[in-house]
C-alpha cells in the first residue's frame, strides 16, 4: 500500500481527498512538519480558504522551503485548488504576500460579470491554443491564473489545461511528477480518479501524462 502524505495545516477539508486516495488503494497520512514534506514519496498540498493566511501558515510551520525544493526537483507533488495558487508568485487576493514562486504566474480574481465563486463542472481544453476539448472537472474557486499567463508556463516546461469561466484560465499544470490543479480531482468523477492514478504512478524519473 502506497503511503501518500497530505499537508494538514488545519485549514483544509482533507476527507474527500483521503477517501479518493483510499479508493485507489493508498494509505493517506496527514503531516505538518518539514521533514515529512521533504521525505514524502507522494505529497499532496490541499487547500481551501484564503491565499494570505495559507502562506503565513506554511511559513510558520516551516514548510515553505521544503515544498519549494521538492517542486523544483520535480518530485511527485499534487497541489489542489488554493494549493495551485500557493505555488505561484503571488495573488490579488492578498497582494502583499509572496507565494512559493515555483509556478511562473500570478493569481487574479475571476473577471467581473462571471458568477463568483465559480462552482461547478467545466470542460477542460488542451493545447497551447486551448482548443482540444477534453473531459469535465469540478471547480470551486474565486481566483485563478488567467490563460494569458499560460504562455510563460509552457515556456518553462509546464503542460497546461485551461477552462473557461468569463474568460479562459489555467485549470491544471504539470511538469515532471508535479501536478497542480485549480479543480478538485478528488471530486471530478471517474476522470478525476484516473488523473489521481496517473499522478500516483509518476516518479522523478517518470513523467505523468493526462489520462483520456
Amino acid at each position: 500500500m502506497k503511503d501518500v502524505f497530505i499537508i494538514d495545516t488545519g485549514l483544509a477539508n482533507l476527507r474527500s481527498v483521503e477517501a479518493a486516495l483510499e479508493r485507489l488503494g493508498c494509505h493517506p497520512r496527514r503531516v505538518r512538519n518539514a521533514t515529512d514534506v521533504s521525505k514524502a514519496i507522494h505529497l499532496v498540498l490541499p487547500g481551501v480558504g484564503a491565499f494570505g493566511p495559507a502562506m503565513i501558515t506554511l511559513h510558520r510551520e516551516n514548510l515553505a522551503s521544503a515544498l519549494r525544493q521538492r517542486v523544483l526537483a520535480g518530485r511527485p507533488t499534487l497541489a489542489i485548488c488554493l494549493g495551485l495558487q500557493l505555488l505561484c508568485g503571488g495573488s490579488d487576493e492578498n497582494p502583499g504576500i509572496a507565494g512559493l514562486g515555483v509556478l511562473p504566474a500570478r493569481v487574479s480574481a475571476l473577471p467581473p460579470g462571471a458568477r463568483v465563486p465559480n462552482m461547478g463542472w467545466l470542460p477542460l481544453a488542451g493545447g497551447r491554443d486551448h482548443k482540444e476539448q477534453g473531459p469535465h472537472a469540478y471547480f470551486a474557486h474565486s481566483y485563478a491564473i488567467t490563460a494569458g499567463e499560460s504562455e510563460r508556463l509552457w515556456v518553462s516546461g509546464w503542460q497546461v489545461l485551461t477552462a473557461n469561466h468569463g474568460g479562459p484560465y489555467v485549470a491544471a499544470a504539470r511538469k515532471g511528477a508535479v501536478l497542480a490543479c485549480q479543480f478538485h480531482p478528488e471530486l471530478s468523477g471517474d476522470w478525476g480518479q484516473r488523473l489521481l492514478a496517473a499522478w500516483l504512478d509518476s516518479s522523478p524519473g517518470k513523467e505523468m501524462s493526462w489520462p483520456a
Binding site: A20, V48, R115, M119, H141, H184
Partner: protein, 251 residues
C-alpha cells in the same frame, strides 16, 4: 460557462433515506451510500444530503451516514441539518462533506456565515433559504423545517447572506415542495437579482421542462428528490433530454 448542475437530494433520518410530505409519515427509501453511489454513476453533478429532523431534534446531521457516502462517491457532497456553529461545520467537513448548508442557525445569527467563510472558505458555505408567500405577497423566509415564519424577505436575506460569506444559495420553495408543479420561477428571479453567487433551485421540479424554466429564471443548478428516488427519471436520461432541449449539461 458551467453547464447546469443536476443535484439529487437525499433526505436522511437515523442513517436511512426517507421520503414524506411535509415531514409527515416518513417512508424508508434505502441506504444513503448505495443511493448516492447509484446517482453518481448515473452522472449526478453533486449530492445534497439533508438530515430533515436534525434541527427540530436539536442535534447534528448523522456523521456516520456522511462518512459512508463520502467513501462511496467521487463527486461533491453538501450536507445540511442541525448545524449550529463552526464546530458542527468542522465535524461535517471532517466526516467528508465538501460544503455545509445552513438555514435556521444563519437566520438566528448571520455572523455565523462570516465565521464559516473565514475558517473554511466561502465555497464551503451554502445558505439554505426556505421561502413561501401568501398570495401575491413577498416571499418570506421559513426556518426550523418550515415550522417558523421569519419577518425576513427571501431576496433581502439572500443579498445579506452573500455579503456575509455564503458562496452558494440553496433556494427551496416551501409552496412548491412536493407538488411536482415546477420550481417557483418568481422566487428564483428575485434571488438571482439579489446575489451573484450560484443559486440552486429546489422544490417542485419534476420534469425536464421545469428545469429548463428554472435555468432561464437564473438558477445555476437544479435539485430534485422524488423523481429520482421513485425511478421516474434516471439522471443520465434526464441529462440527455435536457441536452436535447438545448441546455448545457455534463454527460
Amino acid at each position: 460557462m458551467a453547464g447546469v448542475r443536476i443535484i439529487p437530494c437525499l433526505d436522511i433520518r437515523e442513517g436511512r433515506v426517507v421520503k414524506g410530505v411535509n415531514f409527515q409519515e416518513l417512508r424508508d427509501m434505502g441506504d444513503p451510500a448505495e443511493q448516492a453511489a447509484r446517482y453518481a454513476r448515473q452522472g449526478a453533478d453533486e449530492i445534497v444530503v439533508l438530515d430533515v429532523t436534525a434541527t427540530l431534534e436539536g442535534r447534528l446531521a448523522s456523521v456516520k451516514a456522511i462518512e459512508s457516502i463520502r467513501r462511496a462517491i467521487n463527486i461533491p457532497l453538501t450536507v445540511g441539518g442541525g448545524l449550529d456553529g463552526p464546530e458542527d461545520a468542522r465535524r461535517l467537513l471532517d466526516a467528508g462533506a465538501d460544503k455545509v448548508a445552513l438555514n435556521s442557525a444563519a437566520v438566528a445569527r448571520p455572523a455565523l456565515l462570516t465565521e464559516l467563510a473565514e475558517q473554511f472558505g466561502r465555497q464551503c458555505v451554502v445558505l439554505a433559504i426556505d421561502a413561501r408567500r401568501e398570495g401575491r405577497g413577498p416571499w418570506q423566509v421559513m426556518t426550523r423545517s418550515g415550522s417558523r415564519q421569519e419577518t425576513l424577505e427571501a431576496g433581502t436575506w439572500a443579498h445579506q447572506g452573500g455579503q456575509r460569506g455564503a458562496g452558494e444559495i440553496l433556494l427551496t420553495s416551501w409552496d412548491r415542495d412536493g407538488t411536482a408543479q415546477g420550481y417557483d420561477l418568481g422566487l428564483i428571479e428575485e434571488v438571482r437579482r439579489a446575489v451573484n453567487v450560484p443559486v440552486i433551485a429546489s422544490g417542485g421540479g419534476a420534469l425536464p421542462r421545469h428545469m429548463q424554466e428554472a435555468v432561464a429564471a437564473g438558477a445555476d443548478a437544479v435539485l430534485a428528490a422524488g423523481i429520482f428516488h421513485s425511478g421516474r427519471w434516471a439522471i443520465d436520461l434526464l441529462k440527455k433530454e435536457l441536452a436535447r432541449m438545448g441546455l448545457e449539461v455534463r454527460q
